[in-house]
C-alpha cells in the first residue's frame, strides 16, 4: 500500500510541473505590469527597476520558472506581490475555511443524494422516483451562482431565517453549504439510483431474498456496499467541482476562503499568489483522486492496488 501511494505521488509530479508551467505562461501573457500595479502609478522608474530586480522579474523566464519549482519543492511558494505575506501562509489561512465549507456541503450532498438515490431505486418508476429524478436533473441544470442568489433572496431577505453573507457563526455556513451541497446531491442521487438498480438485479441479491432475509437486510446489508463503488468514483470526481463551486459560493456569500482569495489574487494580478493557489489546488486534486482509488480496495476486496 505504502509503495503504491509513493508511486502514485511520483507519477503526479510531471503533471504538477505541467500545471505550473501552463499557469506561468498564462500569467506572463496577462497584459499590464504587476509591479507597476503594486507600487502605484506615480512611482519613479529607478525604484521600479530596483523592485523588479529584487523580485527577480528581470531574470529570463526559464530562470524565474526554475526558481519557482525549486522553492515550491521545499514548500516555499514565494511572497504575495500585494500583501508581502508568504503565499504558503495566505493559503493555509484560508484553506481551512474552504475545507469546512466543502465538507459541510459534501455531508449534505452525500446524505441527501444517497438516501434519495436508494429510495428511487427501490421504488423504481413510482411517483417519488419520477419526481426525485426530475428534481435531480433540474438541480444539475441550475447554475450554482443563481441558486445562491435565489437562496439569499428567499431565505435571507424574504423569510429572514438566515444571514446572507459573512462568516462569523455556524449559522452563516448553512446557506452556502446547502446551496453548494444540493447540486452534488443531485448527481450523487442519479448515480446511486443507477448503481443500485444494477446491483439489485444480480444473483447474490436474489439468493439473499430467497433465503428469507428481511428486505431491510438485503438493501443495507448486501446491496448498499456493492452499489457504493461507482458512487465513490462520482464523489471523488466531484472534488474538483466542489472546489470550483466553493469559489463561486465563497464570492457570493463573502466567505474568506481559498476560492475568494483566488479571485482576489487574479483580479489584483498577484502572480505568486495565483501560481501558489493553482499548484496547491492541483495537489489537492491529486491527493483526492488517490484517496478515491485507495477507498476502492476497502469497498471491493477484489480490487488489488498495484
Amino acid at each position: 500500500m505504502a509503495g503504491y501511494i509513493v508511486r502514485r505521488l511520483i507519477m503526479a509530479l510531471p503533471v504538477l510541473v505541467g500545471v505550473s508551467l501552463i499557469t506561468f505562461i498564462l500569467l506572463n501573457v496577462v497584459p499590464g505590469d504587476p509591479v507597476l500595479e503594486m507600487m502605484g502609478k506615480h512611482v519613479d522608474p529607478l525604484t521600479l527597476e530596483k523592485v523588479r530586480e529584487q523580485l527577480g522579474l528581470n531574470d529570463p523566464l526559464y530562470v524565474q520558472f526554475g526558481r519557482f519549482l525549486f522553492n515550491a519543492l521545499r514548500g516555499d511558494l514565494g511572497k504575495s506581490f500585494k500583501t508581502g505575506q508568504p503565499v504558503t501562509q495566505m493559503i493555509m489561512d484560508t484553506f481551512p475555511t474552504t475545507v469546512k465549507l466543502a465538507l459541510s456541503s459534501a455531508f449534505v450532498a452525500i446524505v441527501l443524494g444517497i438516501t434519495v438515490g436508494i429510495i428511487s431505486a427501490v421504488k423504481q418508476y413510482s411517483f417519488f422516483d419520477h419526481a426525485a429524478m426530475i428534481t435531480a436533473l433540474a438541480g444539475i441544470s441550475a447554475p450554482i451562482f443563481w441558486v445562491a442568489v435565489v437562496a439569499q433572496l428567499v431565505f435571507g431577505l424574504q423569510l429572514k431565517w438566515l444571514p446572507i453573507s459573512g462568516y462569523s457563526s455556524p449559522k452563516h455556513m448553512i446557506l452556502p453549504a446547502v446551496v453548494l451541497g444540493i447540486r452534488f446531491a443531485a448527481s450523487i442521487a442519479r448515480y446511486t439510483r443507477s448503481a443500485f438498480l444494477e446491483v439489485i438485479r444480480q444473483d447474490f441479491i436474489r439468493t439473499a431474498r430467497a433465503k428469507g432475509l428481511a428486505e431491510r437486510a438485503v438493501i443495507f446489508g448486501h446491496a448498499l456496499k456493492n452499489a457504493m463503488i461507482p458512487v465513490v468514483t462520482i464523489i471523488g470526481m466531484q472534488i474538483s467541482g466542489l472546489l470550483t463551486g466553493s469559489l463561486l459560493t465563497e464570492t457570493i456569500f463573502a466567505i474568506p476562503g481559498l476560492g475568494r482569495l483566488s479571485i482576489w489574487a487574479l483580479s489584483n494580478r498577484d502572480f505568486p499568489l495565483v501560481q501558489g493557489i493553482v499548484l496547491f489546488t492541483a495537489v489537492v486534486f491529486v491527493i483526492g483522486n488517490l484517496i478515491v482509488d485507495i477507498s476502492y480496495a476497502f469497498l471491493d476486496p477484489r480490487v488489488r492496488l498495484q
Binding site: 447554475p143 463561486l248 487574479l266
Partner: protein, 296 residues
C-alpha cells in the same frame, strides 16, 4: 458492395432515431431546444422591445407594469435598472447561450477528434504527448483556468470560446483515442490497410464513422456545461459585457436590486435552467439510443 454498406449504416442511425423517439423526456428536450433555436433566430421579431433601449423614468418596474418602449405596452417580466425590457433581454440572451454552447463544442470536437485520432492511430510519441497534455489539463481547477484565461485575454465572447476550447478538447481526445485504439486492430481496418489506402483515408472513412455515437453523446453532454460556464464567467464580469444581454450578466446586475425588484434575478436563471435541462434530457436520451450495449 457500396450500396449495402450505405443501407446498413442508414439503418443503424434509423435504429437510434427510433429508440430516441420512444424516449419521451429526450423528445421533450429536443422540442425545447428547437423552440429555443427559433427564439434565438427570431429574436428581433418576437421581442416586445429593443433589448438595449433604455427608459430611465421606468426603472425596476415589476412584471406587468405599463411600458412606453414595449410594442405591447407592458413590461411582461418587468424592467431592469435602466428601464430596459427584461423579457427582450432574456430573449436575446438565448442567442449568446446557444452560440456559446454550440460553437464552443464544435471547436472542442474538431480539436479533440483530431488529437484523439492521431494519438490512438499512431501511438508512440504522438500518443504520449497528447495524453500527458490532457492529464495536465484535467488536473487544473477548471473555473480558475477559465477565469485566468479571461483575465489574460480580456472579456469577450470570442475569448470564452478560446477558454472553453483550451481545456475542453482533452476530454473528447481521451474518448476518441480509446475508441481508435480498439478500432484500429479490427480486421476491416487491416483489410483497408492491405488495399493500400492512405492513413488519412482509413482514419476519416473507416475508423471515425464508427466512433460517431460516443462523439455525438459527448458533444451533446458538453453543451450544457459550456452554457453554464459562459453564464458563470459573465456573472463574474469576465464574459459577455453589458449592455449586450447575457443571462449571466443579467443575474449579476440583478443582485444589486434584490430588494427593489426580486423577480429580476429569477427570469434569466430560469432561462439558463430550462436550456441546460433540455440539453441534459437530450444527452441522456442520445446516450441510451446510441449505446446498443445498454440493457433496457
Amino acid at each position: 458492395m457500396d450500396k449495402t454498406l450505405h443501407s446498413k449504416s442508414a439503418s443503424l442511425w434509423g435504429d437510434a432515431w427510433r429508440r430516441l423517439k420512444k424516449n419521451r423526456p429526450a423528445v421533450a428536450g429536443l422540442v425545447v431546444i428547437i423552440v429555443l433555436i427559433i427564439v434565438a433566430v427570431m429574436a428581433p421579431v418576437i421581442s416586445p422591445a429593443d433589448p438595449i433601449k433604455t427608459d430611465l423614468p421606468n426603472r425596476l418596474k415589476p412584471p406587468g407594469a405599463p411600458s412606453a418602449i414595449c410594442k405591447n405596452g407592458v413590461y411582461i417580466l418587468g424592467s431592469d435598472e435602466f428601464g430596459r425590457d427584461i423579457l427582450s433581454r432574456v430573449i436575446y440572451g438565448t442567442r449568446i447561450s446557444l452560440s456559446v454552447g454550440i460553437i464552443s463544442q464544435a471547436i472542442v470536437t474538431v480539436i479533440g477528434v483530431t488529437m484523439g485520432a492521431l494519438a490512438g492511430y499512431y501511438g508512440g510519441m504522438m500518443d504520449m504527448l497528447v495524453m500527458r497534455t490532457a492529464d495536465i489539463l484535467f488536473a487544473f481547477p477548471e473555473l480558475l483556468f477559465y477565469i485566468g484565461v479571461m483575465f489574460a485575454l480580456g472579456p469577450s465572447i470570442y475569448n470564452i470560446f478560446i477558454a472553453l476550447a483550451l481545456i475542453g478538447w482533452a476530454g473528447v481526445a481521451r474518448l476518441v483515442r480509446s475508441q481508435v485504439l480498439y478500432l484500429r486492430e479490427m480486421e476491416y481496418v487491416e483489410a483497408a490497410r492491405a488495399q493500400g489506402l492512405s492513413d488519412a483515408r482509413i482514419i476519416l472513412r473507416h475508423i471515425l464513422p464508427n466512433c460517431m455515437g460516443p462523439i455525438i453523446v459527448s458533444v451533446t453532454m458538453g453543451i450544457p456545461g459550456a452554457i453554464l460556464s459562459e453564464a458563470t464567467l459573465s456573472f463574474l464580469g469576465l464574459g459577455v459585457q453589458p449592455p449586450t444581454p447575457s443571462w449571466g450578466n443579467m443575474i449579476y446586475a440583478a443582485r444589486a436590486y434584490m430588494l427593489s425588484n426580486p423577480w429580476y434575478s429569477v427570469w434569466p436563471g430560469i432561462a439558463i435552467m430550462v436550456t441546460v435541462f433540455a440539453f441534459n434530457l437530450l444527452g441522456d436520451g442520445l446516450r441510451d439510443a446510441l449505446d446498443p450495449r445498454l440493457k433496457r
